[in-house]
Amino acid sequence: MLCGLVVTHGGIGKELVRVVELVLGPVPGLAAMTNSGKSVQDLIDEIRAWTAANCGAPGDGLLLFIDDFGGSCANAAQIAAVGGAPARVLTGINLAMLLDFVTWRDTLGLDELPRRLVEKGRDAITALGPVQEG
């Protein structure tokens, strides 16, 4: 199975996962983690422990979803992604991306899925025009 771990500042990740489960129901292998109060090494250790416990079977893979590039979450995820289950790191998480992950993770592999998710995540960012009448 492809697992998903959302690693963010504050409670962003926890709320995103909660909302995804409101929409789709409980999702096995999906969890959230915060960087609050943690050093980079703490966060690396926590990501690795979660991955070993939840994503350690042969054939498992991991997608790490990060809120912002260049911060402690992204740095920790990139470092923790090496040496355990095959993993990819995606930044700029949004709700569309996470919903699409759950929908497509059984169909697409670890190489194709990130490409799709980046595309879907970007598609969800848009400026809505004025409402057309008539």
């Binding site: 109060g37 943690k38 050093s39 260049g70 402690s72």
Partner: protein, 168 residues
């Protein structure tokens, strides 16, 4: 090689540093001093890629960082500004002992860990940390805690460290 900021932060390069401090100080270089990260090519690459492109990142062990920040042949150019980061007070003290002038040290982030106690919000210390902070004070460094420019500055002096140890 003006040292614009010497900061203790166990997250090393992250938003408070790149967005907070670097936007204000506009350094040419960040020197990240950590023996483990310096020994790992992947970790070096991760940290080097997480800064604005204008800033050059040097990930070095203690001896290498001291050489960049000292007065010798390997020193960074005299007219280019530097931000120095270490993960804890031990590495900062080591650099001071190697002759890096550190009149002021910013204690940015030392997070909760096993056996650590809260000195200030976002600064947690064990006995070794307290001893190293005391040694930095004794070596002539002024220690202040401040997360990003414009926020509250708290002096870390002997009295504050004494109060923590007396409360033990």
């Amino acid at each position: 090689m003006p040292l614009l900021l010497a900061r203790i932060d166990d997250r090393f390069i992250h938003g408070q540093v790149t967005v907070g401090w670097c936007r204000k100080l506009e350094p040419d270089h960040i020197v990240l001093c950590n023996d483990e990260i310096a020994a790992d090519p992947w970790q070096r690459r991760v940290y080097a890629s997480s800064v604005p492109p204008r800033i050059r990142v040097w990930v070095r062990d203690r001896a290498g960082a001291a050489a960049l920040l000292g007065g010798g042949a390997e020193a960074l150019p005299a007219d280019e500004g530097v931000v120095l980061l270490t993960g804890g007070p031990g590495d900062m003290l080591d650099l001071a002992r190697r002759g890096v002038p550190l009149p002021a040290v910013n204690v940015g982030g030392m997070h909760i860990g096993g056996g650590k106690r809260e000195l200030l919000e976002s600064v947690y210390v064990d006995r070794g940390d307290v001893a190293n902070l005391r040694a930095l004070l004794a070596a002539g460094s002024r220690l202040t805690a401040q997360t990003v420019p414009g926020t509250r500055v708290v002096e870390i002096d002997r009295a504050l460290l004494d109060a923590l140890e007396e409360a033990r």
